[in-house]
């Protein structure tokens, strides 16, 4: 900055936090710059290593390779990806009522039409 000079420590932090990204620098996947964003916790993505992907949260591999149906539940809570699923709060509260275990019962999940 040329017109403002940070004087106290908070000002230095403000300057640092609002540093614009370098114009022609490397762009890295999921890169975040500028003011720290609110924490976002995808529930059950490979970002947090929940079972079913590379390793479980303790670093173990014993329970890996769970069936693809499991993704349906892991993803519908936090991510809406890859399966866009029904609105469980208002529109279709019981759409998984008959599906006790996704691996076994996934065929019983209700079809929901908007």
């Amino acid at each position: 900055m040329n017109h403002l000079k940070p004087i106290n420590r908070k000002a230095a932090r403000v300057e640092q936090a609002t540093e614009p990204p370098p114009a022609a620098g490397d762009v890295v996947a999921l890169q975040r710059t500028g003011i720290p964003q609110q924490a976002h916790f995808p529930v059950g993505c490979s970002l947090v290593f929940s079972p079913g992907w590379e390793a479980d949260r303790t670093g173990g591999t014993a329970g890996l390779c769970q069936p693809v149906e499991r993704d349906l539940f892991d993803c519908h809570i936090g991510c809406y990806w890859p399966a866009q699923v029904p609105d469980q709060l208002n529109h279709a509260p019981d759409w998984t009522a008959k599906c006790a275990a996704a691996q076994k019962d996934w065929r019983k999940i209700d079809l929901i039409f908007p």
Binding site: H3, L4, P6, I7, R13
Partner: protein, 481 residues
């Protein structure tokens, strides 16, 4: 085309240069002439970019200046959505850093303005259910409570308080030994301090204090005629002649820790500079802190609106004296300004006015835990007991209710990052509710913060090395008064 408007800030000048204090970030920036002119223009009223370009003669640097001011949020677009301030309540269990132990609620003085005994008292200290003296057992339970609640902190701090603390010296002495031993057993350290009126400082007590490295704050109001106006014994005689020689004795023997004087300012005695001179130069205190008396507005000793103006004028003179001393790397003992300078340097922006109910708790003589020592023994401000621990629900409810986000009056004040509504006890005494912002001293707080900003700005220009002492990450001890 959207227009630019100034956002919350306070402009001040120091060493002949313009600075800006930003709210709520508490960041301080020096401005060049162009940035200063733009910010002042936008403080009058919003301007579109065209208007600004026209009034700044098509200055090629205008866009960059606007971008920088916008980047630090000194200005913003008029219709830009407000970013709401998050109301973040600290996660429990929040570690306890300071426990104030009211070892007695009795006192051998009868200071007219006393918040514990005077007309504005909260707890019936005379005939209430609280024992007059804390028992050794309760003190030991308090130590266990402190060590448990200090969480992962290596260092815990215990402040002995009263009443007159030294009336219960036997328990104080045993508690120091017990706390040292228990802390050592679990690999922690305990630091001690006490507040006293100095009337009971006998040679063996002074020896004990010095040997145990106990920090001391002495309540004293100044030279004889000032001290004796309110700080009197039960029969009405002044205490100056009793305390002055004892304080000199303590200062001579106990040299390892700085000993501070704590002055209560009232309507009748406002000669801040003279009090300061007497206590530092004639008595020998290392530092002196001043606080206006906490009282209902209708008391004779209450400071009126004009009194706050007078106090501000005197504080200003003393603050600039502090500045010149600090520029020359000389010590100056006006502790009020030093504490504020430290907060300004760090850029403190408070969600709560102080650590009460968070990192600081007060313990009554019966072991009840309260917000702070000023509320010790009050059922309405109880947050548990030393035996059962902190009442987390009550603590959470307290923090939810007292967060700065709830204080509508404060939401338009540029001094809120430091003040955050002011003392809970002062608010309780004035307005009957701890959550009420202390509106009676808003002008004084803004005036004083402005003085401290000027001192800070001058220091940053004339002796920036002085400010490096505040870079230390150690959290300063919460002041107990």
């Amino acid at each position: 085309m959207n227009a630019w408007a100034a956002r919350e800030h306070h402009r001040f000048e120091a060493a002949g240069k313009p600075f800006v204090y930003l709210v709520p970030s508490a960041a301080i920036f020096a401005l060049d002439d162009r940035a200063d002119a733009v910010l002042r223009r936008l403080s009058d009223r919003p301007h579109t970019s065209e208007e600004l370009r026209a009034s700044f003669d098509e200055d090629p640097d205008l866009a960059a200046t606007l971008a920088e001011l916008a980047r630090v949020r000194a200005i913003g677009e008029v219709n830009a959505p407000e970013t709401p301030q998050p109301k973040v309540i600290p996660l429990a269990p929040f570690p306890l850093t300071t426990m104030v132990l009211n070892v007695t609620n009795q006192c051998n003085l009868s200071c007219t303005y006393c918040y514990e005994y005077g007309e504005d008292k909260i707890v019936n200290t005379e005939n209430g259910r609280q024992p007059k003296f804390m028992s050794e057992e309760t003190a030991r339970q308090s130590v266990e409570f402190m060590l448990a609640e200090s969480g992962s902190n290596r260092r815990a701090h215990i402040t002995f308080f009263g009443g007159e603390t030294l009336l219960n010296f036997p328990v104080l002495r045993k508690t120091v030994a017990y706390a040292r031993q228990r802390a050592a057993e679990i690999g922690k350290e305990v630091d001690f301090s006490l507040t006293t009126n100095a009337t009971l400082l006998r040679p063996e007590i002074i020896e004990f204090i010095a040997e145990n490295d106990i920090g001391v704050t002495i309540s004293i109001d100044g030279p004889r005629e000032v001290q004796d106006k309110f700080r009197v014994f039960h029969n009405g005689t002044g205490s100056y002649d009793i305390v002055a020689p004892k304080i000199r004795e303590l200062l001579q023997r106990h040299t390892r820790r700085p000993i501070g004087a704590r002055v209560t300012l009232t309507s009748g005695k406002m000669d801040v500079k003279r009090i300061y001179r007497h206590l530092t130069e004639e008595i020998g205190f290392w530092e002196v802190g001043f606080a206006p008396v906490t009282t209902s507005p209708d008391r004779a000793h209450a400071i009126a609106e004009s009194g706050y103006d007078e106090m501000l004028g005197q504080f200003r003179e003393l603050a600039f004296e502090f500045l010149e001393a600090s520029v020359a790397n000389r010590h100056h003992g006006f502790s009020n300004v030093k504490e504020t300078i430290e907060e300004l340097h760090k850029g403190v922006s408070k969600a709560f006015p102080c650590g009460a109910g968070l990192g600081l708790l007060g313990v009554a003589t019966d072991g009840d835990v309260a917000l702070c020592h000023r509320f010790a023994g009050s059922d309405a401000h109880k947050l548990g007991t030393v035996r059962d621990g902190i009442d987390r629900d009550a603590q959470r409810a307290f923090l939810e209710r007292h967060h700065i986000a709830n204080k509508t009056d404060c939401s338009v004040c540029w001094a809120r990052p430091l003040c955050s509504g002011g003392c809970y006890h002062e608010a309780h005494t004035r307005y009957g509710d701890t959550v009420h912002p202390n509106l009676h001293y808003c002008n004084w707080i803004r005036g004083w913060t402005d003085v401290c900003l000027q001192v800070y700005g001058e220091l940053s220009e004339r002796n920036p090395a002085y400010l490096a002492q505040f870079d230390d990450e150690v959290v300063p001890q919460e002041k107990v008064s």
